[in-house]
């Protein structure tokens, strides 16, 4: 009889020797990079809340018009200036158009502009920044002088001139906003690359025959992904704001197309009597911006390769 009462049967002391399989057993399964990022992202409650909020907003933007069953351009003078109700969830505007449907359509435009501008900004910014940082010398000099030149151009004047020349279209707006936005990304990526290129693994990659392009794509990009993802999530709301501002001052989307900025601009005129016309577009801008910021914050922690354990 053993101390705790179990009976030791006859053969438990038989020698079995080294167990080849379990002596080399790996403790934990290999997590993929993204699985690990997701695991750490989930631990951040606020970030998950932000992600949930964003998903809800996007679902609303795409399913909303179908749910409400209204057309965003349909004018019905008999239901002008209605307060929010069961029939018109966000009320109606002064032409009798359903605000909820308009907010959904406007949101699509706003988020599309935010994403497009960010993509353009990241692609240009990363490519130039990586080249400047990695190549150094005259390439670096040329790119950085360009960065200084573009960075010092007055943004608003450029946008005004461009929209005058190109007309007020979605493309013109994206082009104008992207034209000067990549400067910060370039600077940031260059700084990061300058630091990363001194890392042994970059030199090791060179010693094993990787060319510049491969080093950028395989070694530098994944290691700068953390800051790039954060930049993405932080700049989408920035561009949404930018678009809202331009539409607000009358340089953005042209009616009957609409965006949150255009809706807010329109609603501002009616603020005294129809506050809901300003309230709902603004609320959506605030919620979207908030959710992107929360996600960005969570991602910056989750993506940092140095924090992986």
């Amino acid at each position: 009889m053993n101390v705790d009462g179990t009976v030791l049967a006859g053969d438990v002391f038989e020698r079995v020797g080294v167990d080849e399989v379990s002596s080399e057993h790996l403790e934990k399964p290999a997590l993929t990079y993204w699985a690990d990022v997701w695991r750490r992202f989930r631990q951040n409650k606020l970030a998950v809340f932000g992600l949930g909020l964003l998903v809800i907003i996007i679902v609303m933007l795409f399913l909303g018009p179908a749910l409400s069953g209204k057309d965003y351009q349909y004018i019905d003078s008999s239901i002008r200036n209605q307060k929010p109700s069961a029939e018109h969830w966000f009320g109606t505007d002064d032409l009798g158009r359903d605000m909820f449907t308009r907010v959904c359509y406007g949101g699509r435009v706003s988020i599309l502009i935010g994403l497009l501008c960010t993509v353009v900004m990241i692609v240009i910014g990363f490519t130039l920044g990586a080249l400047a940082g990695l190549k150094g010398g005259w390439v670096d000099n040329l790119i950085m002088r360009l960065v200084e030149f573009v960075g010092n151009l007055p943004y608003l004047i450029i946008v005004v001139i461009l929209t005058l020349v190109m007309g007020r279209s979605l493309f013109a707006l994206v082009f104008a906003m992207s034209l000067t936005s990549w400067v910060g990304t370039t600077r940031m990526v260059r700084g990061q690359i300058l630091q990363l290129k001194e890392q042994d693994y970059v030199e090791a990659a060179r010693a094993l025959g990787s060319d510049t392009w491969r080093i950028i794509m395989r070694h530098l990009l994944p290691n700068t992904l953390g800051i790039i993802m954060v930049q993405i999530t932080m700049s989408v709301p920035g561009f949404i704001f930018g678009e809202a501002f331009l539409s607000y001052v009358g340089l953005g989307i042209r009616p009957p197309e609409t965006s949150w900025g255009a809706l807010a601009s329109y609603g501002q005129e009616k603020l005294m009597f129809q506050p809901h016309m300003l309230f709902f577009p603004s609320l959506m801008i605030v919620l979207t911006t908030l959710s992107f910021h929360l996600i960005g914050d969570g991602l910056s922690d989750a993506l940092d390769p140095k924090l992986r354990r």
Binding site: E24, L26, P29, A30, T32, Y33, G136, G137, Q199, D200, Y201, E203, A204, A205, R206, A207, L208, G209, S210, D211, R214, R218, H219, P222, N223, L225, P305, K306, R308, R309
Partner: protein, 344 residues
């Protein structure tokens, strides 16, 4: 023994332009490497060992650096190659293992993909084929559970294992020459022996030429055949390991050997060390660079650099003591008696 020269470095010069002035890091280094041979470049920190290796591989930055001399490889001078041509040489023909396995692997890539990478670059294989080869390489460097390890990231491994991965990485494309830059410095002693054994075994199997860069005499003794002792950017003595270890002919090599602690020694005395520090390479001394720290220095040593003197089958030493007129009173016996060699 001499079964075909692979790499032939002649009079290699490397200088860096810095704010303080021009640093002459390597000043006329020549050596030859044969198939299946291990050549050790030995010397203290900052003597130009690593710079020599990087110059061979074309890894030095183009700007602020001047390289002279010749690096002959299959009858061509690698120093004349452009970046694109060097990219094809690196990894495929000449490969390199780095000192610190902790930082020489990309933290965001699975090790299987990192090994597959160079196979994809040089052998135009598909990803799947390359991964299969990478798995074989991992097994070759004796990593247990290679299949699972393929999908792991460097941070999930120990230093010794990462160095094995580095070796697998360097040897994936079956290079003719492997440059090992202090491959065991960052590892603890028991792992060091395993890694050296692994490098030796793979070298024998593949008949590679290995250039071993180290400051560890023990490592040199255990795996190399020939040794080049570097000091202040110059080679001061060269020869087979046997010759140099048992009969160092240069006072610097002699002092180096003397400063290695002996396990069998029972004497109660402080460990020998060389006085002073290596010279500043911005203004390297005119004569023998070791002269200021050399116990046996003569006037001539500070005026003119000594020529190489053959003093054995393959041994050469660059020292004025070998001159027939040299004052050898008080000079240890090993270093003496080279005067006849000089005459030879």
């Amino acid at each position: 023994m001499r079964n075909g020269q692979m790499l032939n470095t002649k009079d290699l010069f490397v200088s860096f332009k810095t704010y303080a002035g021009i640093v002459q890091a390597v000043r006329g280094v020549s050596f030859e490497l044969e198939k299946g041979e291990t050549l050790a470049l030995v010397g203290e920190s900052g003597c130009g060992k690593t710079v020599t290796a990087k110059a061979l591989m074309g890894l030095l930055p183009n700007e602020q650096v001047e390289i002279g001399g010749e690096v002959g490889f299959h009858g061509e001078n690698l120093l004349e190659y452009g970046e694109d041509e060097m990219t094809k040489i690196r990894g495929k023909h000449i490969s390199m293992i780095f000192q610190d396995p902790m930082t020489a692997l990309n933290p965001t890539m699975r090790i299987g993909d990192q090994i597959a990478e160079s196979i994809i670059i040089h052998e135009q294989k598909t990803h799947a084929e390359a991964r299969a080869e990478a798995l074989e390489m991992l097994e070759l460097v004796k990593i247990a559970n290679a299949k699972e390890r393929m999908n792991q990231y460097p941070f999930e491994m120990s230093g010794g294992m990462r160095q094995r991965v580095m070796i697998a990485l360097a040897l994936a494309c079956n290079p003719e020459i492997l440059i090992a830059d202090e491959p065991t410095t960052a590892l603890d002693v028991t792992i060091q022996a395993e890694i050296l054994e692994l490098i030796m075994q793979l070298q024998r199997e593949r008949d590679m030429g290995v250039i071993l860069i180290t400051h560890d005499m023990g490592v040199v003794a255990s795996i190399s055949e020939r040794i080049h002792v570097m000091y202040a950017g110059k080679i001061v003595e060269e020869g087979s390991v046997r010759e140099v270890f048992y009969g160092p002919k240069h006072p610097y090599t002699f002092a180096l050997m003397k400063s290695v602690p002996e396990l069998s020694s029972t004497k109660q005395e402080p460990l020998y060390s060389i006085v002073g520090t290596p010279p500043d390479l911005i203004n390297p001394p005119q004569g023998c660079p070791f002269a200021p720290r050399c116990e046996f220095a003569m006037k001539i040593c500070k005026l003119e650099p000594p020529a190489g003197v053959s003093c054995g089958e393959t041994q050469r030493s660059y020292c004025w003591l070998h001159h027939p007129d040299a004052d050898i009173t008080g000079v240890p016996e090993v270093l003496q008696g080279r005067s006849e060699a000089h005459a030879r």
